[in-house]
């Protein structure tokens, strides 16, 4: 069952080729395998979830932040509803921890508040705005919303600014680790017959007589009648290859800060965000989110960039996050920061999802412009795309041999001592803690390397096990993980990479490049 990755040659043909192994591509691929095993997933990076998906903030929004009537609003609301069912059997943690939308003195634009008498402003903020938010939610089909008083805000989240006036609680909002979900989806697809090829970049799409014929990659060509374009930031380029484009993806960067879970585990219990009327039109403004593991996360920012590879984080962005959250959470634990990261959203100019079969190249399906709430919408996107794919000829009946269960490898840190003991008896490597911050054992690292979608580099191991995600950021365990990887992959440790080609970790062995004198 294990993927041989680049060692295996590409198949000559496939029923469906999915381009891109992010959360969208993998959701669709997994859904596809319910009906047909003849699916190939192509990913240009060295792991699944290695583009936009990995830097996603893990939020499963309710849809409250989306403009009424847009495709993304509809799919968001639908996707959120489907979530519990969607993750069933995948071995992925999903929790509806709720979102507290806080209305503060600066929730209304200054232009408005400056012109109105203070009691009117107060009335608007306290009485009108929260009800409007709830009503607007209902119109979109979200029923988990309720108005929260100022006192209740502080009872729920004591660290919230005293500038809070009122709030809205959104109980359908949840969190799921985007990369864990995507790995699980990919593995489930592979269990059910899909073939995943990493480090495989699509360079051309052959279209003949108005129909898709084949996908050309850096590693060969696959004949196929159906191509699903879930190429994220590069979806416009891939669509253009088939002459099925007409939209442009313009990358928008989002940076976030992550804090030590031991210090911040109870800092907020639900996600908290500040409501801004016509704030940042293009994002929901970010928030303070407790990850499922308990780390506080602050962000993301939203900055337009030109480069689809620009995942850097600037001093200004860090400053912006600090300023924003010093207001919302005046005592946030600045000193406990353990990581800063950024990722790129992949919106189109129109800012809505572009999902549909091309009329220029039959068999070509665009799943583009998927930005937030793409993670929340994933189940609904998969559902919608399946509808299109059935029309293109994918069988409509569920396979008898479809297996919905994807076995999740044990996580030592999450087990009680008795279960830990039993595991260690079976495999003593569960008794050797490699990552002391996150309590990740040697066995878990080994499992990651031999997983259904195997980890072949340090970051891939990290996404599967949390090794190096803690406060020391791999300072103690980095070398050890590289060594385990090398042994398990059967390659010299000097060939281990952080995140695929070019990201070498060691320059060589000692004494190998001392200067000749």
């Amino acid at each position: 069952m294990m993927q041989q990755l680049e060692r295996t040659a590409l198949p000559r043909s496939a029923g469906v080729v999915v381009v891109g192994a992010g959360v969208s591509g993998c959701s669709i691929a997994r859904e596809l395998t319910r009906y047909t095993p003849d699916v190939v997933i192509l990913e240009k990076e060295s792991d699944v979830a290695d583009g936009t998906t990995k830097a996603n903030n893990a939020e499963v929004h309710s849809g409250i932040g989306e403009e009424y009537g847009t495709l993304k609003q509809k799919l968001n609301v639908r996707g959120n509803r489907l979530y519990d069912q969607f993750v069933e059997g995948l071995g992925v943690d999903f929790q509806r921890q709720g979102l507290l939308i806080v209305i503060t003195r600066r929730s209304l634009p200054e232009k408005t508040t400056a012109r109105l008498p203070r009691p009117v402003v107060n009335f608007l903020l306290k009485k009108v705005l929260p009800r409007l938010i709830v009503l607007s939610g209902r119109r979109k089909g979200i029923d988990g919303l309720r108005v929260v008083s100022r006192d209740e805000i502080f009872r729920m989240e004591p660290h919230v600014t005293r500038n809070a006036v009122a709030g809205v609680y959104d109980r359908t909002y949840g969190m799921v680790a985007p990369y864990k979900l995507t790995i699980a989806l990919a593995e489930s697809a592979v269990i059910n017959g899909a073939r995943l090829f990493l480090n495989t970049e699509v360079t051309d799409i052959k279209v003949e007589g108005g129909r898709v014929k084949a996908v050309v990659t850096n590693r060969g060509e696959i004949e196929t009648p159906i191509v699903v374009n879930a190429a994220g930031l590069f979806a416009d380029d891939v669509a253009d290859m088939a002459g099925a484009g007409g939209f442009r993806i313009h990358p928008r960067k989002g940076a976030s800060l992550l804090f030590d879970r031991q210090e911040t585990a109870e800092y907020v219990t639900s996600s908290v965000s500040e409501f801004k009327m016509r704030g940042h039109a293009k994002t929901k403004g970010g928030g303070a989110m407790p990850t499922l593991e308990g780390n506080l996360q602050l962000g993301p920012t939203a900055i337009e960039v030109d480069d689809k590879n620009d995942t850097s984080i600037s001093a200004e962005e860090i400053e912006e996050i600090f300023e924003r959250f010093y207001y919302l959470l005046p005592d946030f634990p600045r000193a406990s920061i353990i990581s800063a990261f950024s990722g790129l959203r992949a919106p189109t100019e129109e800012e809505d999802f572009v999902i549909g079969a091309s009329d220029k190249a039959r068999g070509f399906v665009n799943v583009a412009g998927i930005q937030s709430p793409g993670l929340a919408s994933a189940p609904a996107i998969a559902e919608m795309v399946m509808g299109i794919l059935h029309d293109l000829g994918v069988p409509r009946s569920v396979r008898d041999d479809f297996d919905p269960v994807r076995p999740a490898p044990p996580r030592f840190a999450e087990l009680d001592d008795e279960k830990r003991d039993r595991l260690i008896e079976q495999d003593p490597r569960y008794g050797t803690v490699v990552c002391r911050c996150e309590y990740v054992t040697e066995a878990e690292v080994v499992n990651a390397v031999h997983g259904i979608v195997p980890a072949t580099n340090m970051d891939a191991v990290k996404r599967r096990t949390r090794v190096g995600m803690g406060r020391c950021q791999g300072g103690f365990c980095g070398c050890r993980v590289a060594q385990i990887l090398a042994v398990e992959l059967g390659i010299p440790v000097t060939e281990i990479t952080k995140d695929g080609e070019g990201s070498w970790v060691f320059a060589g062995e000692t004494k190998s490049f001392q200067k000749e004198t």
Binding site: T311, G475, K498, T510
Partner: protein, 422 residues
């Protein structure tokens, strides 16, 4: 799960602090001492410190790290100490109950009569100082690089920029050079070096490696592997001066930007921590806020000499033995207050003035021609001359019971730096 073990003392961590504490406790009469170490060997960080400069106070000799460690390891092996290697302590409660794990015994429950915390410290990362830029391979902490080279035999890069002039960074600048890597320079955000003067001289000056004071890193370039680092001079508020920014090509950024005592277990147990040291509050016996739990070495505060770590460990080990054998109750402890130009003092409390006490402290800023004084109730009892005091160089100053002889009621102890030779 095996039977609960009930040693007289459990020492967590077998670096110089843990080794010293376990031995001192044995010498003071404990028969059942357990030493728990997560690594595959004893010695902690010392085995990777192959440079010399260790032991000049304790042994009156200049030793390398491995040599220094070996002296204690040999003694621990001779003494009847129960050593658990490859064993990670997962949890500790306020009742001193410890849960640990290893591959052979599985989960281990320990209910010791006393505990010495000796977990050492970890290195500050790029994110804790928030260096902007990409997150490529090739950003590494100096201590991790030291381990790669000296223990694992692996070179983390070819052309390095070192950020921060802490001792490990300085020592690694020399080590990289000796291994044939190029060190472009060391950049230090403060206007004075972070490490000991002898290391600046022996590791940088002797190898013509430039030290750029008042400089910081402003951006890490390279998507897959470090390709360059932007550096800039900083103003008096430590903010980069844009016009001075320049690009330095390199494949590795080495960070030596501070150490943080590893007190996650202490926090789990609910031990009170000092925000200045990031370690537990301790009294003169190195006993923490919880009776029977002692702490020593870099978990208490980052010492700059291993000899001081050993001293604190011996105090803690003897303290634990005394606690177990005599069951001493602590009297009302007296607070030790950092006075003028003193950043922090260890111990932070004195429970018993009837013994020799060593105070370890750091100054806030460099100062010339000063005296350091220990005051009781505002009256100096101990005073020492210094030509120069600097934050990286810890000062040790002791008191004897006789110093307190004419003090009837001791309610406050202050440590301060005052100008002048008197």
């Amino acid at each position: 799960m095996k039977q609960t073990r009930k040693p007289e003392l459990a020492v967590i961590g077998a670096g110089p602090a843990g080794l010293g504490a376990a031995l001192a406790a044995t010498e003071a009469g404990l028969k059942d001492v357990m030493l728990i170490e997560r690594d595959i060997e004893l010695g902690g960080i010392l085995p990777q410190c192959i440079h010399d400069g260790f032991g000049s106070i304790v042994f009156k000799e200049v030793l390398t790290g491995p040599q220094y460690a070996q002296r204690y390891i040999d003694e621990v092996e001779r003494a009847n100490i129960d050593v658990l290697l490859n064993t990670m302590v997962l949890d500790m409660g306020a009742d001193r109950r410890i849960t640990a794990v290893n591959a052979t015994d599985g989960i281990i429950e320990i209910e010791p009569r006393s505990v010495v915390l000796a977990m050492g410290c970890r290195e500050r990362t790029r994110h804790q100082i928030l260096i902007p830029g990409f997150r490529p391979a090739g950003v590494i902490m100096a201590g991790a690089a030291q381990r790669d080279i000296n223990i694992e035999g692996l070179m983390p890069g070819r052309k390095m920029v070192i950020l921060g002039s802490g001792d490990i960074g300085l020592i690694m600048a020399r080590r990289f050079t000796l291994e044939g890597a190029e060190v472009e320079g060391v950049y230090e955000i403060m206007d004075h070096p972070g490490g000991l003067t002898r290391n600046v001289v022996q590791c940088l000056n002797d190898f013509d490696i430039p030290l750029h004071l008042s400089h910081g890193a402003t951006f890490i370039h390279g998507r897959k592997r470090v390709e360059a680092v932007s550096v800039a001079a900083v103003d008096e508020n430590l903010k980069p001066i844009k016009e001075t920014e320049r690009l330095v090509e390199c494949d590795t950024l080495v960070l030596s930007v501070g150490l943080i005592p590893e007190n996650e277990l202490s926090k789990r147990a609910g031990i009170a921590l000092d925000q200045a040291t990031n370690g537990p509050f301790v009294d003169e016996r190195m006993e923490t806020s919880i009776d029977g739990i002692f702490a020593c070495g870099n978990v208490v505060n980052v010492f700059d000499l291993v000899d001081y770590v050993t001293h604190s460990a011996e105090t803690a080990g003897r303290g634990a033995a005394e606690y177990v054998l005599e069951g001493r109750k602590r009297e009302k402890p007296v607070k030790v207050t950092p006075g003028r130009n003193v950043f922090y003092v260890v111990p932070q409390y004195v429970s018993d003035i009837g013994r020799d006490i060593d105070f370890y402290f750091r100054v806030q800023h460099p100062e010339r021609a000063v005296r350091t004084r220990i005051l009781v109730g505002g009256e100096p009892i101990e005073s020492k001359k210094h030509r120069m005091v600097r934050p990286p160089e810890m000062i040790k100053q002791g008191t004897k019971p006789a110093d307190f002889a004419d003090k009837r009621a001791v309610s406050e102890i202050t440590v301060e730096v005052v100008p002048g030779e008197e």
